[in-house]
């Protein structure tokens, strides 16, 4: 009896183990297939500047420079959440009112009338930041302040300000800790709010901020490692403060020579950082990211270059009935076989029709099919039609004259 029970117990354990293994495999497969099955459909950018006060001008300039870059490369304002903790452009201490520069040559004015700031001043808090990431807002929050990403989105999260070991300081009064960030990202992954996420942090000891991340599909780069400071690039003696940080300065240097159509890879971006120039080590974390960095173009995160699907059919009122008619044409290089396919279709249908006709004998149908065959043979359509039209007149006069 005991042996039997033991045997049955062992059988059940074996079955259970097998089930668990299958389950794990299944969920793995599902996870893999789910992330691979969804298509990359849109790009979002969340750009956060967490410092206030005039002497933190450079953090504002960092964020606005990245805002400009991201917009230039194609992400529209509807998909950018810009959080600026203070207003430098209209600050009383700004010698150049309504202008923000990131270089002492003052070539680029980063502020203009097409800058849309979504969270400004005291609205930039840790709570609001986490709400933006997780999407858990109050009902009254407008759409422009929400991160409306979906499972096909690539999100760029750029944070700059004062930070330290495992934290980032918000507004000189509170801090965002690394496990808070990791928790928020985990929630995002759970709610399928992103396909891939790139976190870029430009603070002191930046790499510690994403040390607690565990969600797959996340890539993170920080301007400095634990124990290192990130430095500003240069002081603008006219404005009176430092205007840009080194990490962001070299990032911008990489992007300024790009436009929407370049497909430089992330690897080239990450390897462009020179520790001696940065005066810190730019550390990036790829263990959670499946793809090879050489294959990923920077515009996957920093721009918005979408694949166009060209279709010929028009928007019509009764589209739901006609949905089968939509023909999707692939980009230009594949259009020739498409045309051939279109040409082949009638003859194929003709063959079927011929068979049908032979089944259903009808002299009329046979004549119609012969007419159609003759019509297929006509090459120069326009000339034939115009000859046909011109032929009408003599036909008419002859028939009238003959009085048939």
């Amino acid at each position: 009896m005991r042996f039997k029970m033991y045997g049955s117990f062992r059988c059940r354990m074996v079955l259970l183990l097998v089930f668990l293994l299958l389950d794990c495999n299944f969920s793995n497969c599902l996870a893999d297939t789910s992330s691979e099955a969804t298509m990359h459909t849109n790009n979002w950018a969340v750009l956060v500047c967490t410092s206030r006060f005039w002497f933190n001008y450079r953090h504002m300039a960092n964020t606005l420079s990245l805002y400009r870059t991201v917009k230039r490369l194609g992400i529209p304002d509807e998909r950018i959440i810009l959080m600026l903790a203070d207003d430098m452009a209209c600050n009383a201490r700004n010698k150049y009112p309504a202008q923000v520069f990131n270089n002492e040559n003052h070539k680029l004015n980063l502020y203009g009338d097409n800058v849309e700031v979504d969270y400004r001043g005291y609205e930039v808090t840790v709570e609001n930041f986490l709400r933006v990431l997780t999407g858990r807002h109050e009902n009254a929050v407008p759409r422009s302040k929400r991160l409306l990403s979906d499972e096909g989105s690539h999100i760029l999260l750029y944070m700059t300000g004062h930070g330290g070991d495992e934290f980032l300081k918000f507004q000189d009064s509170e801090e965002l800790q690394s496990h808070d960030l990791a928790d928020a990202v985990k929630q995002m992954k759970e709610k399928r709010r992103f396909k891939e996420l790139l976190i870029m942090v430009d603070t002191c000891q930046a790499a510690t901020l994403f040390s607690q991340l565990q969600s797959p599909g996340v890539l993170a780069i920080g301007s400095s490692m634990k124990g290192e400071n990130s430095y500003s690039h240069h002081l603008d003696s006219d404005v009176g403060v430092s205007v840009v940080d080194r990490f962001t300065f070299y990032t911008l240097g990489f992007f300024e020579r790009l436009n929407m159509y370049n497909n430089d890879s992330l690897m080239s971006l990450f390897s462009s950082y020179n520790p001696s120039m940065l005066m810190s080590t730019a550390y990036y974390r790829t263990d959670l990211y499946q793809r090879h960095l050489e294959e990923v173009p920077v515009t996957n995160f920093f721009g918005s270059v979408m694949e166009m699907i060209h279709t010929d059919s028009a928007y019509s009122l009764l589209s739901r009935k006609e949905s089968f008619r939509v023909e999707i044409k692939m980009p230009a290089d594949k259009s020739v076989p498409d045309k051939k396919r279109l040409m082949d279709k009638p003859s194929h249908l003709d063959q079927i029709r011929e068979l049908n006709i032979e089944d259903q004998h009808g002299a009329l149908k046979r004549t119609w099919s012969t007419i159609q065959k003759e019509m297929e043979k006509v090459e120069d359509v326009d000339a034939f039609v115009s000859y046909g039209l011109v032929l009408i007149v003599p036909l008419l006069t002859v028939s009238m004259w003959l009085k048939w």
Binding site: V381, V385, I392, W404
Partner: protein, 475 residues
């Protein structure tokens, strides 16, 4: 007397031709007008079916080897595209845009007027002949008092502001009208191939003239408009009553009188039907060849006739369908499409039964009804039936409400652009303003149809009166 009459006739002819030439010059002046009159953008003038701009777009797509119906701009016939398309592209230095097309439309208008005149001459001949047959004492005595309806109809057509606006406003309705009038003319002249050609082309260009098959068949079978058959029978009875056929000679006399014109002759009708099938096969083959790369004839029919019947474009026009179909629920859309189009169809049979002795007038009534209830009406359609109204000036002389209708038409044609401006450009009005004028226009058309039909029937009754009096007198 004779030279006086001749000079009088010459004067009349000269007067007519002067007015025709003046109308052509007026059209040319409007075409060459330095300021842009912007008539082609008026919704009353150009509809999705008749707009030349859409035809130009369709032709441009065709030149790029794309499907001309892609993008839902052009919805007309591919043959018209091959005919007018090259003309829209040719630009001559220093001349207004689309000059060649405007000239084509002006020529179409002139041909329409001439055909109307020729048709009316035929009708008038028949009218006087039938009056003589009835020995109508009153009416046949004063031939001079019979107004030359042909000249009047042609001039009404040419000088109708609706026609001028449709011609100068680059709408293809002069060509559609040409096809309809050609078919009427051919049927009046008993030319089956011409009538068949006109009918096939008219149906092909805009589906609604298909209902004219009934007046065509009646025209070819019975001949042009005559008083009702009963009158002839009555007349015969009166005569027979007068001289009882005692002698054979008198009986033969009775028999040898000019024949009763109301025997339905099948031969012309069968000829007509044969020619319709021939012409329709010809047109279908040509269309099929021009669209064979893009899905064939069925696709073409969906884009042209399907578009017309399913009212896919709901931009405002002078009709009544757009407003309704903008707010109808999807579930009921097909039902109401059937109802609206059935409105045209169910009036066909009763009118045909009542007016079978007057097929030309029946055609006029059908055209009026279809221009009111078609999916995208324009003033070009009204131009046609207002011109044809002139053909029946003699019979409709006692029409009631004629002044009211005239004022109504003038009022609607002035108010409609104002309401459109208020709605679209100034934003101080809304769609109801514009739709109110459209409804008023539809009401006017209904009153016109009803009054003209009752006037015609009254006229037939007045013809019958003297005969009945004669009969009573005999009895």
């Amino acid at each position: 007397m004779e030279p006086k009459e001749q000079s009088k006739e010459k004067k009349e002819k000269l007067w007519f031709w002067n007015w025709v030439i003046a109308s052509v010059i007026f059209r040319l002046v409007l075409i060459y007008f330095p300021k842009n009159l912007n008539l082609a953008s008026r919704p009353e003038v150009s509809t999705p079916l008749t707009s030349l701009r859409r035809l130009a777009e369709g032709y441009w797509l065709k030149q790029l080897s794309m499907y001309p119906y892609a993008g839902s701009m052009y919805h007309g016939s591919p043959l018209l595209l091959s005919l007018l398309g090259p003309l829209t592209v040719k630009r001559i230095e220093g001349q207004p845009d689309h000059l060649l097309c405007s000239l084509v439309f002006v020529i179409a208008d002139i041909v329409n007027a001439m055909l109307i005149r020729a048709t009316s001459q035929n009708l008038q001949m028949e009218y006087t002949r039938s009056l003589k047959l009835l020995d109508h004492v009153k009416l046949s005595e004063k031939p001079g008092k019979i107004i030359p309806s042909g000249d009047i109809a042609a001039l009404v057509y040419l000088w109708n502001p609706f026609t001028i606006v449709a011609c100068v406003g680059l709408s293809t309705s002069p060509i559609e009208n040409l096809a309809i009038i050609l078919s009427l003319y051919g049927a009046c002249k008993r030319q089956a191939p011409l009538a068949a050609f006109g009918w096939v082309i008219a149906t092909h260009l805009s589906l609604y003239p298909a209902i004219l098959i009934i007046p065509m068949i009646l025209l070819l079978g019975y001949g042009p408009d005559t008083p009702p058959r009963k009158l002839f029978l009555q007349r015969r009875n009166v005569e027979v009553g007068d001289n009882p056929p005692n002698d054979r000679c008198e009986r033969e006399e009775v028999v040898h009188r000019p024949e009763l014109p109301h025997v339905f002759s099948w031969r012309p009708v069968i000829h007509f039907l044969c020619w319709t099938s021939l012409w329709s096969v010809y047109v279908l083959v040509l269309c099929g060849i021009s669209v064979k790369q893009y899905g064939g004839l069925w696709e073409l029919f969906k884009r042209t006739y399907g578009f017309m019947l399913t009212v896919q474009d709901l931009s405002p026009n002078i009709g009544v369908l757009w407003y309704f179909f903008a707010e109808v629920f999807d579930f009921f859309r097909n039902f109401f499409l059937i109802v609206f189009h059935g409105n045209i169809l169910f009036m066909m049979l009763p009118l045909a039964i009542r007016l079978k002795h007057r097929p030309c007038f029946l055609a006029f009534v059908y055209i009026a009804i279809s221009s009111m209830l078609k999916s995208y009406p324009s003033v070009g359609d009204s131009a046609l039936y207002l011109g044809l109204l002139g053909l029946f000036v003699n019979e409709l002389a006692d029409m009631q409400f004629s002044f009211f209708l005239f004022c109504g038409y003038v009022g609607v044609s002035l108010l409609s652009p104002v309401m459109h401006n208020l709605w679209i450009w100034r934003g101080t009005g809304n769609a109801n303003f514009y739709f109110a004028t459209a409804m008023a226009y539809a009401c006017l058309q209904i009153i016109l149809v009803v009054e003209s039909v009752s006037a015609m029937l009254n006229h037939d009754r007045t013809l019958r009166k003297p005969l009945t009096e004669l009969q009573d007198g005999k009895n």
